[in-house]
């Protein structure tokens, strides 16, 4: 039997846009390339918002990536993407170019990491062009459900939103009618009908999609598999107390930037806790946010140090002096990759008590929860964590290894095989 051809579709390529889902997509593709019986192909979107020039040739959106015959860029204009209905306004992208690409590649399985900037119509086009192909879709956030950046947080407050509906969505976006939200949902679900299996990296994410109407036979929890880092961070230097806390990721409102800064301001004067910020994209935030952040940082000199952005392979070095990793997000999160990074390097986590964070970090076992969005609660948790070496050691003992890539790969291979058989049954019966 010939190799199973699996086409991975990602909305960005990590060489152009660093990000968790992007890094995972490339890692998975590379892991699959080392696996017998499977030939992976990666199609990553590139566009005017990430590329410094048009990486496209006349007459085609496709080009090859860094000499790898199985990696392809697909160029789409950011302006052509309809962020409300999640579709491309340029339909020839599907009818012409993606059709040709699918016919040329003829994958047995299309595993989508994302359809952002390409468009959700791709799902229907795959089904039409390749009736036998199994379609797998990994869900990374709530974009299909929620127009508010896929966060499921209300626009007018930071209240977490448990459930979308045309009425509730219209409350968040008064300028968009309930009818348009109804149409949006029907449109997305119409294309989602072509997906054979959804993968949710966390149970809480799956629950929200179940409530939204994805049938339980079509969705399952499958955590991101990760490659173990080539080296682990050394233990922190022995000090009297575990006072160093690290934050990794975007410094944005949804990531809880203000919550952690306010908490640091609320610490007792004698506290020795120190927060090290390894953050990116501050310049992309609103001016008000940047000004507020600068004001807080100025007033917290000596307690908070901003160290700029970082590369993934610097993590062992950056973690070396840290005792804790802090995840103060005010949205649900899915399965934050920084949790896996921290656990690889044996650092317990302090995090908000909701969503993917509460699911992946066990309170009192391998980390500590605080009340989401509550700076006071976080301040008290930090004081407890940074003054109690015994607690730190016991949480550290409680850390388990993250889900390894090889287990993930073998689960996916089984799933692909199962779905390909299932498709054969469907098309033979048709």
């Amino acid at each position: 039997m010939s190799d199973l051809r699996v086409l991975y579709v990602a909305h960005n390529h990590p060489t152009l846009h660093p990000g968790g889902a992007e890094a995972y997509s490339l890692e998975l593709y590379e892991a699959m390339r080392g696996e017998p019986g499977v030939e992976p192909v990666l199609m990553a979107r590139i566009g005017s918002n990430v590329a410094r020039r048009r990486v496209a040739h006349p007459g085609t959106p496709f080009s090859s990536v860094n000499g790898d015959p199985n990696q392809h860029f697909i160029f789409t204009e950011t302006d052509h993407f309809d962020f409300f209905n999640l579709t491309s306004r340029d339909k020839s992208l599907y009818s012409r170019h993606l059709t040709d690409f699918l016919l040329a590649q003829r994958p047995d399985v299309v595993h989508l990491q994302h359809t952002h900037f390409i468009g959700i119509d791709l799902l229907s086009q795959i089904r039409r062009v390749l009736p036998d192909a199994a379609i797998v879709y990994t869900l990374h956030e709530f974009l299909p459900i929620c127009h508010h950046h896929g966060q499921m947080v209300r626009t007018f407050s930071d209240e977490l939103c448990p459930e979308a509906s045309p009425r509730r969505c219209n409350e968040c976006f008064p300028e968009l009618s309930p009818q348009s939200f109804f149409l949006r949902e029907r449109f997305v679900k119409g294309h989602f009908a072509n997906v054979d299996r959804f993968l949710a990296p966390s149970a809480q994410l799956m629950d929200k999609y179940l409530r939204w109407g994805i049938g339980e036979e079509r969705i399952e929890v499958e955590e991101y598999g990760r490659l173990a880092p080539t080296r682990r961070a050394p233990d922190p230097r022995q000090a009297k107390a575990p006072t160093n806390i690290g934050f990794f990721g975007q410094l944005s409102h949804f990531k809880g930037a203000e919550v952690m800064m306010e908490a640091m301001a609320m610490l007792e004067p004698e506290s020795n806790a120190h927060l090290w910020l390894h953050g990116a994209n501050l310049e992309l935030q609103t001016t008000e946010f940047q000004e507020e952040f600068a004001r807080l940082q100025e007033s917290l000199r000596g307690r908070v140090t901003f160290r700029g952005s970082y590369e993934h392979d610097e993590l062992p070095k950056l973690m070396a002096d840290l005792h804790w990793v802090l995840i103060p997000s005010i949205w649900w999160e899915n399965s934050p990759l920084v949790i896996q990074e921290a656990f690889f390097h044996r650092r317990p986590i302090v995090c908000s008590d909701v969503g993917g964070m509460a699911e992946k970090v066990r309170d009192g076992v391998d980390g500590l929860h605080f009340r989401v969005g509550d700076a006071y609660s976080l301040a008290r948790t930090i004081e407890e964590a940074t003054t109690n070496p015994r607690l730190w050691r016991s949480l550290r003992e409680g850390i388990r290894d993250p889900y390894p890539m090889d287990a993930h790969v073998s689960r996916l291979m089984n799933l692909y095989g199962e779905l390909v058989e299932q498709r054969k049954g469907v098309t033979a019966g048709a």
């Binding site: 010939s2 051809r5 048009r54 040739h57 006349p58 007459g59 085609t60 959106p61 496709f62 080009s63 090859s64 000499g67 790898d68 015959p69 199985n70 392809h72 020839s92 009818s95 012409r96 040709d100 690409f101 016919l103 040329a104 003829r106």
Partner: protein, 550 residues
């Protein structure tokens, strides 16, 4: 005046009994003999002049209006103008027209007048064919417009014109009662029986079904070729889809004529020879150059390291003629540097991609032709030999194309097919596997394809000529190579794609600018119009994306 001439003249006159004549130009005279009024060649160039006005007054001015108009038309349409046409003759005919023609009242365009006529442009496609546009308004839409050339030839326009609504004209006449004209606008490609040489003096007449007859003076014809082409394309682009009835009934004829003229006006100016090209080459490589001369330095380097190329005849054709000196200087240096002999064909005027190839091919000797773009750079030596060996192994081969790559090793060309969007009647050229990596398995199969690109194409000279060569009727290039391939297929040959030969083709990054929209749409329409049925048949049996082993 010598005596003998007078004698001869009088002799001839007496022989013709009542006939009277007057000289119109060096070689032409007007002869009036009872009912017969015609142009005749004069036997001597120095015959006396000055009797024309008297002749017209005495013999013709008294005839009725209809007859006079007919005479003017007949004289201006005389086949004598084909051979003896001159500005002097045209001037005399214009004079005759002005004396004999029945003048109609001048049409005044006013919102309360039920009859209106306007001619907005006359574009000279060549000396005898014109593109005219304007509008008319009358009582019932039945009015007929006739154009009168400066020499007096009459061309009815409305019967065959493309008619369309003019909201501005509708608005202008909104106050009038009754059943107003619809489709006020008219555009037409018109042809005169013989050339018209005067650049001013056109008249347009309108006769309505109610018997109203008016005339207006027209703007002078636009003579600049490029401006004419631009304005015709502009009209095609603004009257519905580019490939509508305007293109089918008028645009195609006008643009085809214009393209012939553009190519026809370009001739070989000189051929510069660098080194000693082979005397009896088996294959001639023809490379048109347009503006980007920097590529040839790269191309020559890589050609010079391949011993096969020295045995071939290498011909560059400079289509951007104002770069002649620049290219000559560069060519001298590059020949001194690389020692590879080649020729440069200089033209008197730009001929376009197909036209430049035509000149290059006419100047070449090889029994095989290798059409090559200047931005094609071989990946490794041996490519020409590889192409020729394959070509000679296939008995029925027409055109041979090869694997062409972008700078990032993506496929630029692996054979052409034709694509039609559902619901559209137009076929567009599409590239198999474009953008995928050069090692893509399904693109590694030699096979018969509907067409191959002329960026690098090998074809037998006799077969090329049998198929009529690259067509010249497309505007600024696009579909020449696919049409050539379709013609070869029609003549019974097969077009092949060969993947074992690989070259880079740095196809321009320039996206279709807005100014290129109408020409490309027109070319696509023309290609589909001519070849639609053949394409349909070939695509019915061609699988652009074969499954292969999978």
């Amino acid at each position: 005046m010598p005596e003998t001439v007078r004698e001869r003249t009088s002799t001839r006159r007496s022989r013709r009994s009542e006939a009277r004549s007057a000289r119109l130009a060096v070689e032409v005279e007007l002869v009036v003999d009872k009912e017969r009024v015609e142009l005749q060649p004069t036997e001597r160039a120095d015959e006396p002049d000055g009797k024309l006005k008297a002749l017209l007054r005495d013999e013709l001015a008294g005839l009725d209006a209809e007859r006079r108009t007919a005479i003017v038309d007949e004289l201006a349409s005389s086949s004598l103008l084909e051979e003896h046409g001159s500005l002097e003759l045209s001037g005399s005919l214009h004079e005759i027209r002005e004396v004999l023609r029945e003048r109609l009242p001048t049409c005044l365009v006013e919102a309360r007048q039920p009859v209106g006529l306007a001619v907005e442009q006359i574009l000279a496609v060549d000396e005898r064919s014109f593109w005219v546009s304007g509008w008319l308004h009358d009582e019932d839409g039945e009015g007929e417009v006739t154009f009168v050339s400066p020499e007096g030839a009459r061309v009815p326009v409305t019967a065959d014109a493309f008619r369309f609504e003019r909201p501005d004209v509708v608005q202008f006449y909104a106050g009038l009662q009754g059943n107003p004209t619809r489709d006020h606008g008219f555009t037409a490609f018109i042809e005169l029986p013989v050339p018209s040489l005067l650049s001013s003096g056109w008249i347009a007449e309108l006769k309505t079904s109610q018997g109203v007859a008016v005339e207006i003076r027209c703007p002078d014809p636009e003579l600049d070729l490029q401006a004419v082409r631009l304005k015709i394309l502009g009209e095609l682009g603004s009257r519905g889809p580019v490939g509508g009835p305007l293109a089918a009934e008028h645009g195609r004829r006008a643009l085809t004529r214009l393209q012939e003229r553009i190519v026809g006006e370009s001739e070989v100016d000189s051929i510069d020879v660098y080194g000693e090209p082979p005397a009896a080459p088996a294959v001639s490589i023809v490379v048109p150059l347009y503006k980007r001369l920097d590529f040839i330095e790269h191309q020559l380097l890589h050609l010079s390291t391949d011993p096969d190329i020295a045995e071939a005849e290498l011909i560059y054709v400079l289509d951007s003629v104002d770069q002649k000196e620049e290219l000559a200087a560069k060519a001298r240096e590059l020949f001194a540097l690389y020692g590879l002999p080649f020729k440069v064909v200089n033209l008197t005027a730009g001929a376009g991609f197909a036209g430049a190839n035509k000149h290059g091919i006419e100047a070449s000797k090889g029994g095989q032709l290798l059409l090559l773009n200047s931005d094609v750079i071989p990946d490794r030596p041996g490519w020409l030999r590889g192409m020729r060996e394959f070509y000679e192994s296939q008995e029925k081969i027409g055109a041979l194309g090869v694997k062409l790559l972008y700078e990032d090793d993506s496929l630029q060309h692996a054979g052409l097919y034709f694509h039609r969007t559902a619901g559209s009647e137009l076929w567009e050229n599409a590239h198999c596997f474009k953008g995928l990596h050069r090692s893509f398995e399904a693109a590694d199969v030699a096979r018969v394809v509907p067409a191959v690109t002329a960026a690098c194409m090998l074809v037998d000279r006799d077969r090329y000529e049998e198929a009529g060569g690259l067509p010249l009727h497309y505007v600024q290039g696009d579909y020449e190579d696919s049409e050539l391939c379709l013609r070869l297929a029609e003549a019974g040959y097969e077009n092949w794609y060969l993947p074992t030969v690989e070259l880079y083709h740095l196809e321009g990054q320039s996206y279709v600018a807005d100014t290129r929209r109408v020409p490309s749409e027109y070319n696509m329409w023309l290609h589909s119009e001519i070849w639609g049925e053949e394409i349909e048949a070939v695509m019915a049996s061609f699988d652009a994306f074969p499954k292969g082993d999978r």
